[in-house]
Amino acid sequence: MSINTEMSVRVAAITQVADQVRRLRFERVDGQPLPVFSGGAHVVVSMRDGAILRRNPYSLMSSPADSSGYEISVLAVEKSRGGSTFLHHKLKVGDTLAISQPINLFPIDQRGRKHILMAGGIGITPFMAMMDQLAREDRSFELHYAVRTRSHGAYWRELQARYGARRVHVYCDAEQLFIPTGEILGHQPLGTHLYVCGPAGMIKGVLGSAAQLGWPRQNLHSEEFLAPPPGKVFKAVLTRSGKTITVHSHQSILEAVEAAGVEAPYLCRGGACGQCETAVVGCDGALEHHDIYLEPEDKASGKKIMICVSRISGSEIRLDL
């Protein structure tokens, strides 16, 4: 049985906060309060873009305790698959959208004695909500925030004003200032937790130096939303529903499945949570795994695929859907 817990929301405000970054505020159409949530959570936003239904995950950046509205920030992406372009150029104040309940795949470790947050660019958004929660609970934290230029970086001024320069450190590429990762990670008290959100390269670099410095794996946390990469067009045969569908080059399998009216489970739509794991019945080419969920042996087995981000190199895949 599937239960629809999506909420219908109205765009209450749109604010241009930096070069290429827009903040959207959502309020419920029925006037009811939105659920409170935990810092680090995201929602999946469903957009009707003409005939196409787009669904993208966005981190919640407003105060987790504020049930009057949710805020997200959207970066204008040059090679947008459509969602970012839609939210930047088509969406207007007063429009309605559907959003999922909050989902947290990047939570604060409640045991942490101190929390170090490292953000790159738009990766700042989950930390906005986290810092609100940490500050309210009077817990120790510091933010290290890398931006390309001062005008690209969203929110750094207001964050410094709110939490002070001792807790909010800003590094600007254009000024040749970079996060001194080794220095920061080399001098932390026992019980410190590290959280990284930003481009893949940054996450890899920071986690790598933490590992080198002997940080326990349990104290390292990261979040990266993978956009489904484009690829060749192929066919997917859904064996249980008896349908054959076409997966276009800028579409994920999951999106094609949904467009065909077949229900498939999902949560993050970014290859991280494992919810959309699907059994592969057959495939005439190689699976191109793009997720960060499946174990290497699962990927090698050719029996499982995360349909939110992964594709195939052949012309047809048969799925247990």
């Binding site: 239960i3 659920p35 959570a41 987790p64 309940q101 947290n104 939570p107 409640q110």
Partner: protein, 346 residues
């Protein structure tokens, strides 16, 4: 809904019994004539109002007596309530959830009024009128989880989610089927399920853990579990084994009907919003064999389930000693007729 609360005991003279209405609403756990472990989880949504699924947090005729029994257990053994320090946010999440659900399901019994963080809670059956500040534990007589679970039927565990696992880091456990919070506190999902036979081999716990790690806010789930208890004792804990263990040797063909109980746990799991923890509610329902057989379908089916249960399961559930006597007694109520599918009485 008007509930007449029973004046009854779950120890010493065991005056517990179910009214005819309570028998009809018992959450009978077998949908077919046999039983095996499965990841039997389904959405926790309300069903018929006169069933145990009528509200998401059920309150029934045993409420007042169960809360009195819980207070007695805690007085003898305060460690039945424990919460690790990092669980305070989850404690408040739980208090909110239970107050909201009870007030929504039973407005004539409970009232919750909120003005920002200033809350006012009225519990009429227990004669409680409490004003407090949400988020400030100093404004309640005890920690928020202990406070609210002294006013809610069932055991409550809060698990913390981290490192791809779930950790038993807080709870109120006084109506348990032979497990101990004091022993399990701080363990992860695989550790605390360690003793269960057969289920590990068929991958039940791997699948269940994967499912729960993705449990969503606003979409609670439930499952049923069951065992049997001799005498209507809620507190069958390892700590008190010396009190209830010997009871299992007292079953005779003459006393099965009154002494042997089917014990059903209606378990519900809820994602908590502020802490991202999961609240695990384990609500225990008891029914005597003589009450159970007043529903012919349940009499036939339970006879068959108990008779055909794999011996490992009977051993793990502690039924081995009195199973033959009980099966023989139940056989009188099983004419071999087919039973209809599903849990509910015909």
């Amino acid at each position: 809904m008007n509930i007449a609360f029973n004046d009854e005991t779950f120890r010493d003279d065991f005056t517990f019994r179910n009214s005819p209405q309570a028998i009809r609403r018992f959450p009978f756990p077998f949908h077919e004539d046999s039983y095996m472990y499965a990841v039997n989880m389904e959405p926790h949504v309300p069903l018929a109002r006169d069933s145990a699924y009528g509200t998401l947090i059920d309150v029934d005729e045993h409420y007042v007596a169960e809360m009195r029994d819980r207070a007695l257990v805690l007085k003898e053994d305060p460690l039945r309530y424990q919460a690790l320090p990092h669980m305070m946010t989850a404690q408040w999440d739980t208090l909110e959830l239970l107050m909201e659900q009870q007030a929504a399901g039973y407005p004539e019994l409970f009232t919750l009024t909120r003005d920002g963080d200033r809350w006012h809670w009225i519990n009429r059956p227990l004669n409680i009128d409490q004003r407090f500040t949400f988020g400030d534990a100093a404004t309640l007589p005890c920690e928020p989880l202990e406070y609210i679970t002294r006013q809610a039927q069932g055991d409550f565990c809060i698990v913390d989610q981290r490192d791809g696992n779930l950790w038993m880091d807080a709870g109120m456990v006084t109506t348990q089927a032979d497990w101990s919070l004091d022993f399990d506190i701080g363990m992860n999902f695989m550790e605390w399920h360690g003793p269960v036979p057969l289920a590990h081999q068929i991958g039940v716990f791997d699948r269940a853990l994967k499912f729960l790690l993705n449990l969503q806010q606003g979409r609670p789930v439930r499952r049923l579990n069951w065992t049997m208890t001799i005498n209507a004792r809620l507190d069958t804990s390892p700590e008190n084994y010396h009190k209830w263990g010997p009871d299992r040797a007292t079953v005779t063909p003459e006393n099965v009907g009154n002494k042997v109980h089917l014990r059903c746990e209606l378990q519900s799991l809820w994602r908590l919003p502020r802490s991202n923890g999961i609240l695990f509610v384990i609500r225990c329902f008891l029914i005597k064999m003589e009450e159970l057989v007043t529903v012919p379908k349940w009499a036939r089916r339970f006879h068959r389930v108990l008779r055909d249960l794999p011996p490992e399961l009977a051993d793990y559930k502690g039924l081995t000693r009195y199973r033959p006597t009980t099966v023989a007694w139940l056989a009188k109520y099983d004419d071999g007729a087919p039973t209809s599918p599903g849990f509910f009485p015909d």
